[in-house]
């Protein structure tokens, strides 16, 4: 059994069910990102793990021991909070050493351990500062050191970076990841930012409406989403409902399909401006989707232009290195392996339930 093992977990507030059928196995030393939109139940899952809210069904095992009936103070799972949750009446050292004091560790040993942790999180020399005098990034590092001080079985982090400004966020993100590699703690990190999840996690679990839609390595989740939700959440910003009427569009895949939801990223759509006369080879075999249409809008995005192209009732986004005037006719080509195609059964009026990903290798 994995180090942290969650089995058929069900959690709710009152009789409102928030988490359904959560199954998750986290290996020793692994970092898993829980990724999902706001309100999907990420914090609720961490709270249930820590014992702050009761579990209505299922079980949680840490190192083969069931812990879902234990009170929070006996679980040895610590949390790093979005709001830091430091105690303002204590110094940095008192905050970090609190868990050790609770464990009745000797004063001298606490001092040694706190010094060691301050070094790990790069806050040497600040032990006697008030936490209210620290910057956001420093506060979150104190919170991290405090949570690591007691060597928890599992460390959980609830959007630890979202209160930090962009630059600090990148450096703290890097530090957390480096620490996790160096110390090898088992951890779950919650985020709603896909980039954060991709960079930090060994594996990602995508949550939607209280259930896990897909678990996998960052590459898996990014390149091979199993559901339209995952494709969409991982940044496939173009969505087409096939078939499309009144549009110059060709779908070139095997086996052919009649009805499908198609997703792809705007950066994967190759734009070529094509004078009608020149008929270059527009149909190479690795191009699964071909769309012809006029440019509707072209917006400067820094390193490139985001081009909107009309395609029947849909608007397709693509990236191009030059500005294109409105109404310029263009050809968009999307490689087969950049397409995420979810076939919907013909004649089914409620396609969401019958989606099955088509292999697109």
């Amino acid at each position: 059994m994995a180090h942290l093992h969650i089995e058929n977990l069900q959690v709710g507030y009152g009789n409102k069910l928030i988490l359904k059928n959560i199954n998750l196995a986290v290996e020793q030393g692994e970092m898993i990102a829980l990724l999902g939109p706001s309100g999907c139940g990420k914090t609720t899952l961490l709270n249930a793990l820590c014992g702050f809210i009761p579990v209505s069904q299922g079980d949680i095992f840490v190192a083969n021991r069931a812990i879902s009936k234990r009170p929070a103070e006996k679980r040895n799972i610590t949390m790093v909070f979005q709001s830091y949750a430091l105690w303002p009446h204590m110094t940095v050292a008192q905050n970090i050493g609190y868990g050790l004091k609770v464990q009745k560790m000797k004063h001298a040993d606490i001092t040694t351990r706190v010094t060691e942790l301050l070094k790990i999180v790069k806050l040497e020399g600040l032990e006697n500062d008030r936490v209210t005098a620290l910057s956001g990034g420093q506060r979150q590092r104190v919170a991290l050191a405090r949570a690591l001080a007691i060597r928890p079985d599992v460390l959980v982090l609830d959007e630890p970076l979202s209160n930090l400004d962009a630059k600090v966020r990148l450096s703290v993100r890097h530090e957390i990841k480096a620490l996790q590699k160096q110390l090898g703690f088992t951890s779950l990190i919650v985020t709603h930012d896909q980039e954060e999840a991709l960079v930090m996690a060994d594996r990602i679990a995508v949550l939607n409406h209280g259930t896990i839609e897909q678990i996998g390595t960052p590459e898996d989740i990014y390149h091979r989403p199993k559901t339209p939700f995952v494709a969409d959440f991982m940044g496939a910003d173009n969505h087409l409902t096939w078939p499309i009427q009144n549009a110059a569009i060709t779908l070139n895949i095997n086996p052919t399909i009649t009805q499908a939801e198609i997703y792809f990223r705007s950066e994967n759509a190759l734009v070529s401006t094509r004078p009608p006369a020149t008929n270059v080879d527009v149909n190479p075999s690795n191009m699964g989707l071909l769309i012809e249409g006029p440019v509707e809008q072209s917006v400067f995005f820094g390193n490139n232009y985001q081009i909107s192209v009309r395609c029947g009732t849909h608007t397709i986004q693509a990236n191009h290195d030059q500005h294109l005037p409105e109404h310029t006719p263009v050809l968009l080509r999307v490689p087969t392996d950049a397409l995420h195609i979810f076939a919907t059964e013909a004649g089914n009026s409620a396609p969401q339930h019958s989606l099955s990903p088509l292999s697109n290798q």
Partner: protein, 278 residues
């Protein structure tokens, strides 16, 4: 700039006038009356007389206040702590409702209730007798100093718990959670995480309770047994029986001084903490 200043003056004028007429003027008048003869000469005679006749009552008052405030602090912190930290939701909800009730009952009604409740043949003793816990011979009256304390605590408990529970609720919940998953018991969290942060509010609740207790007349009159009694009862007695406003005001001056000392302590403490935080 000048225009806005005069606007501000107009805005605060009604409030300032109210404070002046109904508070500052009577206060100054009372202080003046405490240290002057009818002819207008300064004198310490009234103060001397007040101490000569009533020093026991002054000490009694201070003791009652201290005991009440100590019991209040312990009880309201306990109740607020249970409301904030208890894992039993219904218990904390019920408690949260019950403790507020005395807030809506005036002191004089409270005093009357306590009188019928605490007397030798009152409701409490009758209940004990009916349930067989005591025989009629064993009952004691709680009217007197203990009754005064019970009444004040019962009445002020709602107010101080309201303040303290409010301050506890205002703390970020994740601070408590952080302590819990580091292994701290609820008791430890109350003492080491919550109380240090809400100490200023406890101070406010206790200072305000002291001032209230010092100013209530009905409770010592209705629950007390005569001697010793609290200073408010003495003041009423000086005025009603002798028309002696001077000594009554001298007692008032003593009462102000006690409250002023507390206010000074409180403000000093508050300023120190503010200074340390910034």
């Amino acid at each position: 700039m000048r225009r806005t200043t005069s606007h501000f003056l107009w805005l605060i004028a009604p409030a300032a006038l109210m404070v002046g007429i109904f508070f500052l003027y009577p206060l100054c008048f009372s202080l003046y009356s405490a240290v002057t003869l009818d002819s207008g000469e300064l004198t310490l005679a009234h103060l001397n007389k007040a101490f000569e006749l009533y020093s026991k009552d002054i000490i009694f008052t201070i003791l009652i206040v201290l005991i009440c405030v100590a019991i209040l602090a312990v009880l309201s912190i306990t109740i607020a702590g249970i409301i904030t930290l208890s894992p039993f939701r219904t218990l904390s909800k019920t408690l949260g409702f019950l403790y507020r009730l005395p807030l809506f009952i005036p002191f004089i009604v409270t005093a009357q209730m306590m009188r019928t409740f605490l007397a030798k043949n009152g409701l409490m003793n009758n209940t004990f007798i009916a349930s067989g816990l005591l025989t009629p011979m064993e009952t004691v009256s709680f009217l007197g100093w203990s009754g005064i304390i019970i009444t004040f605590v019962w009445k002020q408990l709602a107010f101080s718990t309201l303040l303290i529970a409010g301050a506890m609720a205002a703390l970020d919940d994740s601070q408590i959670r952080a302590a819990r998953n580091l292994g701290a018991s609820r008791w430890r969290i109350l003492l080491q995480i919550i109380l240090p942060q809400i100490a200023p509010t406890i101070g406010v609740a206790m200072v305000l309770s002291t001032v209230t207790i010092m100013s209530v007349l009905s409770v010592p009159l209705m629950i007390g047994t005569g001697t010793p009694t609290m200073m408010t009862a003495d003041m009423a007695f000086r005025i009603n029986s002798y028309g002696d406003y001077h000594v009554a005001n001298a007692l008032g001056l003593v009462s102000y001084s006690i409250c002023a000392v507390l206010a000074w302590f409180y403000l000093r403490q508050n300023l120190k903490e503010k200074g340390a935080q910034s």
